[in-house]
Symmetry: C2
Subunit: 336 residues, 2 copies
């Protein structure tokens, strides 16, 4: 499957789905969008992007379908789209949690062609009017590989995303994704909500807003996200979010205890530790590696290597397949 010849569909064309649609269209792919909202379909038509009035028409005869509706709608949409497409049509989603939907797909015998996905990008805006072909450019994009026929689907999708979106494809198990996303994204949404909520209740609310410099603006930005989207995300990863929150409040309690007892040495040590994580984010260096596997077989080694790559902070920058071999271009954080 040459990426340029892929026939794609995007189901749900809000902020993320709309950005996927615009990018695939801009890249010259044959792509059709569908959204349950008639006004949204009209906006897409105005933007010159093909849309179908009916879901089944949009996805019929496609090679790949991106499922991009709200998180709670994804299981039903997955079944509907699976029923309306050929068995070799690859399915993926962009939901912010992965374990539940992966288990649902397994329970419905769809593991072989459904590759759970999650592009790590977003904005405190919503809808197709906020979407852009560039939003996902170069984004970290989690894909969850599985052994068996699913591995072939993973390779096709990894290739498409690296070529068309310049994505950093992060292969991870659904469980690792949900644990990492809880710390990287979901708990930050809880902290931002708590901070903005406390300001809202403060008698000095207006003064706090006029003093708001970088730290407050940054710390509450995601509290501007449409509430329902945040809530779906939190509910969809409930256990991991609560576990990660416990880890974060443990550090917060240490900081507060040290502050309460005016223990400057402990505070400084904790902030030096926190700063190291932040500096690591900005200052990471990478090693490149090419790794090959046989195209046939049960793919257990390939999937184990892929999941290990993602869990250790690496990603794929390319994927090529010939008659006998699949080769991945991998990028790994440099081990000191």
């Amino acid at each position: 499957m040459t990426p340029e010849r892929v026939r794609a569909a995007v189901v749900g064309t809000g902020l993320i789905g709309g950005s996927v649609l615009l990018r695939l269209h801009a890249a010259g792919l044959d792509v059709t969008g569908w959204d349950p909202d008639e006004a949204t379909r009209g906006q897409a038509r105005l933007a010159g992007v093909p849309v179908s009035p009916r879901l089944v028409e949009a996805v019929a005869d496609r090679d790949v379908v991106f499922l991009c509706g709200p998180l709670p709608t994804l299981p039903a949409t997955l079944l509907e789209v699976a029923a309306a497409t050929r068995d070799d049509c690859l399915l993926t989603d962009v939901g912010s949690t992965k374990a539940e939907l992966a288990a649902f797909a397994r329970g419905h015998g769809l593991t072989g062609r459904f590759v759970p996905g999650h592009p790590m990008a977003g904005a405190d805006t919503a809808g197709l009017t906020a979407a852009s072909a560039a939003l996902l450019d170069g984004a970290a994009w989690v894909l969850c590989p599985s052994p068996g026929p699913a591995t072939e689907a993973f390779r096709r999708l990894a290739r498409l995303l690296t070529v068309v979106f310049d994505a950093r494809v992060v292969p991870m198990s659904p469980a690792d994704h949900d644990a990492a996303a809880a710390l990287a994204s979901h708990v930050p949404h809880l902290l931002a909500g708590a901070l903005a909520g406390a300001v809202r209740r403060s008698a000095l609310r207006e003064a706090v807003l006029s003093l708001a410099a970088g730290s407050f603006r940054d710390g509450t930005r995601v509290a501007g996200t449409p509430p329902q989207r945040t809530v779906n995300m939190l509910l969809g990863n409930r256990r991991e979010v609560l576990d990660s929150l416990t880890a974060v409040t443990a550090v917060l309690d240490e900081l507060a205890d040290a502050l309460r007892s005016a223990d400057g040495a402990t505070l400084t040590a904790r902030y030096a530790e926190a700063r190291a994580a932040r500096v690591a984010l900005a200052g990471r260096t990478y090693d490149e590696q090419v790794r090959s596997f046989p195209v046939d077989g049960d793919h257990a080694d390939e999937v184990a290597w892929l999941c290990g790559l993602g869990a250790s902070g690496g990603h794929l920058s390319g994927c090529g397949v010939d008659d006998t071999t699949v080769s991945y271009a991998a990028v790994l954080p440099h081990a000191d």
Copy 2:
């Protein structure tokens, strides 16, 4: 005192002091800097800005001195500079907490010429090399007015800051400043430290960093601040920070409880509330007002009006004084 003719000095020329120095110099004022660090003084000389090798020389015969060293050094510096300057030399500082230093100045009979100040700007960098003449451009800049001779000092400084820095001068009592800054700045630093610290301890640390999208980068940015600066700030406003943290963790507990019981309706309501604070920040509209007071008298009405203006989210955009009247150009959030 015409701002352009002011003779100024800046004591401590790191990130904030250096930016004050560069801006005053760029505006054409006669200004001299001093820093205890010889290398920093050398950098200033290289940038073409006048510096003195000795503190007393830098501040002698000046009309206004900005005290910009680390927070714990300010009381001693205040006394040293006060002793080396004339009684009509205006003193101000840029420390991130105000009540302690204001009380210290009162205890040493310096209230009449020391105006506590705090420009709300910053960066996760430090030192003169990170400073710029533009860093404080248009910043919210808290000044604490007091009745009596201090009011005249406040007016002079408000005029200087609005003219030279295009500052939004926010007049507040030291107590209100410290309470508001705790929520606007200090607690966000605690939350960022806790989040970055928890990531540092996580087994999936590297994966979390590779998934880090906007919410994590934003939520931990201030954790990149030099630890000692953060710790000085937190220790300098300990009681208010702990009180505000209690208010924030109360909302966080509500969010966590609702999440634990999968109560989507409560979560949505809390996020709608949090979003309202965030939207208010972006969407505030303002009314302009000019307010005049007699230059003489005890200034009690003037100070009460000024402190009320800041506490209700307003600021000064200008200050003019003639023989009989002081006139403030004030900007207030529009009451709905």
